[in-house]
Symmetry: C2
C-alpha cells in the first residue's frame, strides 16, 4: 500500500501540473481577446485544442482515481476543513465528473463551440437568427447529452447548473427568481425613466478614451487592484482572467460617448481581479487555491461594480477627481447629479448595459428559456418569439431586432448553458456579503467617502478570498453571513436606494 | 510491417503536435517580453518548464525512432528534395540529437539559464562581473557537457555551433573571420569617426516616440510586412517571434533622442518577419515549413536592415516622408545628409549600436573568447581582461566598464554558446543573396527609389522562403547564388560604400 503522505504529494503535483497547463490556455485565451492578429485565429484554435486534449488526458488519468481512493477515508483527510481534505474532496468531484464525459463528447463540444461562436457572430452582425438556429439546436442537443452523461437528480438542467454552481438545483432557482420577478417588475415600472427626464445624459458627453483608461486605472489601484501583479488592457468585450499567482489580467473597451460602459466594466473586472489576487498563493494549483464558484466570483464583481461603485459615498470620494480629469464634460455637474446619473433606471433590450433594477429581469428571461429548451419544451426556432414575449411581459418592451434581442449574448454560441443564472446569483451573494461586512466592519460609507476601501477588501480577503474552495458556496455563505441564499438584502437595497432617488428633488 | 503512407502521416501528426506545443511556449515567451506584469515572472518560468518537459517527452518518444526507421530508405523518400524526404531527414537529425541529451542535462540547463540570466542582469546593472562569474563558469561547464553528449568531429565547440548552424565547423569560421578581421580593422580605422565631424548627430535630435512607432509601422508595411498576420509591440530588447502561420510578432524599443536604435531594429525584425511570413503555411509544423538556420534567418534581417535600409536609394524614397513626420528635427536636413548619418562609422564598445563596418569585429571578439572558454584555454575569471584586450586590438578602444564591455549581452547568461557567429554569418549570407538578387531581378535601386520593394521580396520568397528546410544552408546558398559561403561580396560593398562616403563632400 502506498504511503499516504507520498500519495498526497503526488496528487498535489498532478493537480498543479493540470492547473499550470490550463494557465497556459488562459494566456492564449487572453491574447486571443486582446492582441492576436486576425490571421492567427485559426492557429490559435489548434493550439487551444491541443492544450485542451492534454488537459483532459491528465485530468482523467486513472492514476488520479487510485490516488484519491488511497487517500479517501484516511487519517490525512480526517479534518474536513484541512487543505488535504478539501483538495481530495474537490479533486474527487472534478475527477468523477470529467471521467463521466466520453472523449468524443468533449471533442465534439470543442469543435462545435468554435464554429457555433463564429455562426453566432455572423448571425448577430446580419440580424439573421436563422443562421444561428441550426447551431443552437446542436448546442442544445449536446448539452442534453452532457447532462445525461453527468447525471442529475430531478431534471437535466440540474446537471448543467452543477458545472457552474455546484449544489444548486433548478427548483431553488425557480422560486428565488419568482420572488425577484414579483418585486422587480413593479419596481422597474415605478422608477423607470418613462416617468422623468434622462438623468444619464451626462454620461453620454465626451470622455477622451485615454483619460478614461487613466482614470479607470487610478480607481482600480485605489480599490486595491495590484498592478504589479496584474494588467488592464483593451478588448472588444470586458473580461478578467487569472494567468497565475501574481498575474491577473483585466480588460475593457472604451467608447468616447459612454462613460459608464467602460468605467463600470472596469469596476466589475476589478472585483473579479481582487478575488483572484486574494486567493492563497501557497495553494495555487490546488482547489484550496481556487475560487469557490462562478456565482461567488460574480458576487465579488457585482459588489464592487454596483453595491460600492454606484453608492453615493463612492462618488462623493471619486467625483471631484473625475471632474478634474474630464473637466470639459463635468464642470457643470456635481457629485449628487453624477450619483443619480449612474443609477438611472431605464428598461432596455440590452443586458450588459442594463441598470441594476432591470438587470436581473434580463437574466430571468434567459434562465426561463434555457430551462425550457433543455426540457424539450422550447424549440430553437421558437426562441425569438419566446424571447420577445418574455421581454414584453417582464420589462414592458420588445427588442427592435433579434440582433438586439435573443442574439445579443455570445454564451449559447459558446456552448454555455446554465451559466446565465450565476449573474443574478452573484448579485444576491454580493448583497448578502456586503450587508455582513457593513455589520462587522462598520462605518463603511464614511470610509468610502474618505477613499478608504481597505476595510471592506480586508474583510472579503479574510472571510472569502483566503479560503479558496475550503467551503462550498452555501456553507461559506452560512459561515460568513449566518444565512442561506436570500434575495431579501438585494431587494431591500434596490427598493430603498431607488425609491429615495425617485423622490422629487 | 507498417504501411508507409500511414507511418508518414503519423510522423507528420506528431511533428505538428510538437510544433504546436512549442508555439504555445513562443506565445508565453512573447508575452514575457512585452506585457507580463512583474509579479508573474515566477509563474511564467514554471509554465515554460512544464511545456519544455512535455515537448522533450514528445520529441524523444521512441515511437518517432520507429517511424523514422520504417520510412528511411523507402520509396516514399526516394526523391531527396520531396517534402517527405526532407521531413524524414530533418526529423531524424533532430531526434538523434535530442535523444543524445539526457533528461537531467536538459532540466539542469533550463534551471541554470533562468537563474544565470537573472544573475547576469544584476551583474550588469551593478557593473559587477564577479557576480556573474560563477554562473558563467557553470554555463561553460554545461555547454561542454552538452558537447560531449552530442558528439563532434574536431573540437567541442563544433557541437555547439551545430545547434545553430548545422554543418558549419569551427575551423571554417576561424579562416572566414580572419579574412574579415584583416580587412575590417584597417577599414574601420580609415573611415572611423576620429577623422571627421559627427555626421550622426542628426539622429540624436528629438523624435517623439509615438511618431517613431507610426513611421516604423508604415515603413514595415511598405516593405511587405503583413499586419493582418502580425504585430509590432514595444519591449526592452527588440525581437521577433513566429507564433504560428498568420501570427508573426516583432517588437522594438523607442528612445526620444535615438532615431536609429528603434528604426533599424524595426527593419531588422521586419526582415526576420518577412522570412517567417514567407514560409510555406501548408507545411507548417514540419521541417518543410521551417526556416533553414539561424544564420540564414539573420541574413533576412541584415539584408533589410543594412543592405536595403542603409542604402541611398532607400532614403531617397523614405526621407521625404521622414521629414514630414519629424519636421521639427529634420526640416534643415536632406536625404543625402540622412543617408550619411545612418552610415556613420564610429568604433564603440557596444555591439547592438555598432555601425556596419565595426559590427562584425564585435562578433569576432565574442567568437574568439567562446572558443577559448569551451577549449578550456580561458577561465571565466579572465574574461574581462581578455575582452578588453581584444577590443583594444581590433577596435582600438577599451570599454569604460564591464557593464559596457563583457557584460553587455545576455546570450551567455541565457546559456547560448555558439550563437554569436550566426550574426556575422547572417551579414555574409545577406550580401551574397542581395548580390544574386541584384543580378537576377535587376534595377533594384531604381525600384527602391520608387518605393517598390516587391521585386526583392518576391525573389527572396521564391528562392529562399518558400523552400523551408528543403535544402541545408550551404546547398541553398550554392543553388541560389552559385557560390559557397564567401565574405567577398560583404567586404566589397563595405569598402565601396564607405570609401565613397568618406570622400570629402
Amino acid at each position: 500500500m502506498m504511503r499516504l503522505q507520498e500519495a498526497y504529494e503526488e496528487l498535489v503535483r498532478r493537480m498543479r501540473e493540470q492547473t499550470l497547463l490550463s494557465s497556459c490556455a488562459e494566456l492564449l485565451g487572453w491574447d486571443e481577446l486582446t492582441y492576436l492578429p486576425p490571421g492567427g485565429v485559426g492557429h490559435r484554435a489548434e493550439q487551444q485544442a491541443l492544450l485542451a486534449g492534454l488537459y483532459h488526458e491528465k485530468a482523467t488519468d486513472p492514476r488520479l482515481g487510485d490516488l484519491l481512493a488511497t487517500l479517501e477515508g484516511s487519517d490525512l483527510v480526517a479534518d474536513p476543513d484541512s487543505p488535504a481534505a478539501v483538495n481530495v474532496r474537490e479533486m474527487r468531484y472534478a475527477y468523477d465528473r470529467l471521467t463521466r464525459l466520453p472523449r468524443d463528447l468533449v471533442e465534439e463540444e470543442a469543435r462545435l463551440t468554435s464554429v457555433a461562436q463564429q455562426a453566432w457572430s455572423v448571425a448577430r452582425a446580419n440580424d439573421d437568427f436563422a443562421r444561428f438556429r441550426p447551431w443552437l439546436e446542436q448546442v442544445i442537443a449536446l448539452a442534453r447529452r452532457r447532462a445525461e452523461c453527468l447525471g442529475y437528480e430531478a431534471i437535466p438542467y440540474d446537471a448543467l447548473l452543477e458545472d457552474y454552481e455546484p449544489g444548486l438545483r433548478t427548483r431553488d432557482l425557480v422560486s428565488l427568481f419568482d420572488e425577484l420577478r414579483r418585486e422587480l417588475v413593479p419596481l422597474a415600472a415605478e422608477v423607470g425613466d418613462a416617468r422623468r427626464r434622462d438623468r444619464a445624459a451626462v454620461l453620454r458627453r465626451e470622455y477622451p478614451l485615454d483619460r478614461q483608461r487613466i482614470f479607470g486605472e487610478a480607481v482600480a489601484s485605489e480599490l486595491g487592484f495590484d498592478f504589479h501583479r496584474g494588467r488592464l488592457d483593451t478588448s472588444v468585450h470586458p473580461f478578467s482572467t487569472l494567468i497565475g499567482p501574481g498575474d491577473c489580467r483585466i480588460a475593457t473597451r472604451y467608447a468616447l460617448h459612454d462613460f459608464g460602459d467602460s468605467f463600470f466594466s472596469i469596476l466589475h473586472e476589478v472585483g473579479h481581479g481582487l478575488y483572484d489576487q486574494g486567493l492563497p498563493a501557497e495553494h495555487y494549483g490546488t482547489p484550496m487555491g481556487e475560487p469557490v464558484s462562478l456565482g461567488l466570483h460574480e458576487a465579488q464583481a457585482r459588489l464592487w461594480e454596483n453595491t460600492v461603485g454606484r453608492s453615493r459615498a463612492f462618488w462623493r470620494h471619486f467625483f471631484p477627481r473625475a471632474r478634474q480629469v474630464f473637466h470639459e464634460s463635468l464642470h457643470d455637474v456635481d457629485a449628487e447629479d453624477f450619483y443619480r446619473a449612474v443609477n438611472h433606471v431605464a428598461p432596455g433590450p440590452n443586458r450588459v448595459r442594463a441598470d441594476e433594477v432591470t438587470y436581473n429581469l434580463h437574466i430571468l428571461v434567459r434562465f426561463e428559456l434555457e430551462v425550457a429548451m433543455i426540457a424539450g419544451d422550447l424549440r430553437a426556432a421558437d426562441v425569438p418569439t419566446a424571447w420577445n414575449e418574455a421581454y414584453q411581459r417582464d420589462l414592458g418592451i420588445t427588442p427592435p431586432s433579434d440582433a438586439e434581442g435573443c442574439l445579443q449574448d455570445g454564451h449559447w454560441g459558446d456552448g454555455l448553458i446554465g451559466y446565465f443564472p450565476t449573474y443574478t446569483l452573484g448579485n444576491i451573494f454580493a448583497e448578502q456579503l456586503f450587508a455582513a461586512a457593513s455589520r462587522e466592519v462598520g462605518g463603511l460609507e464614511e470610509q468610502f467617502v474618505r477613499g478608504d476601501f481597505g476595510g471592506l477588501l480586508g474583510w472579503l480577503r479574510e472571510k472569502v478570498h483566503r479560503h479558496g474552495q475550503r467551503y462550498r458556496a452555501p456553507e461559506l455563505l452560512k459561515r460568513v453571513t449566518g444565512a442561506a441564499l436570500d434575495s431579501r438584502p438585494l431587494l431591500d437595497r434596490l427598493h430603498r436606494q431607488h425609491r429615495e432617488l425617485n423622490e422629487p428633488t
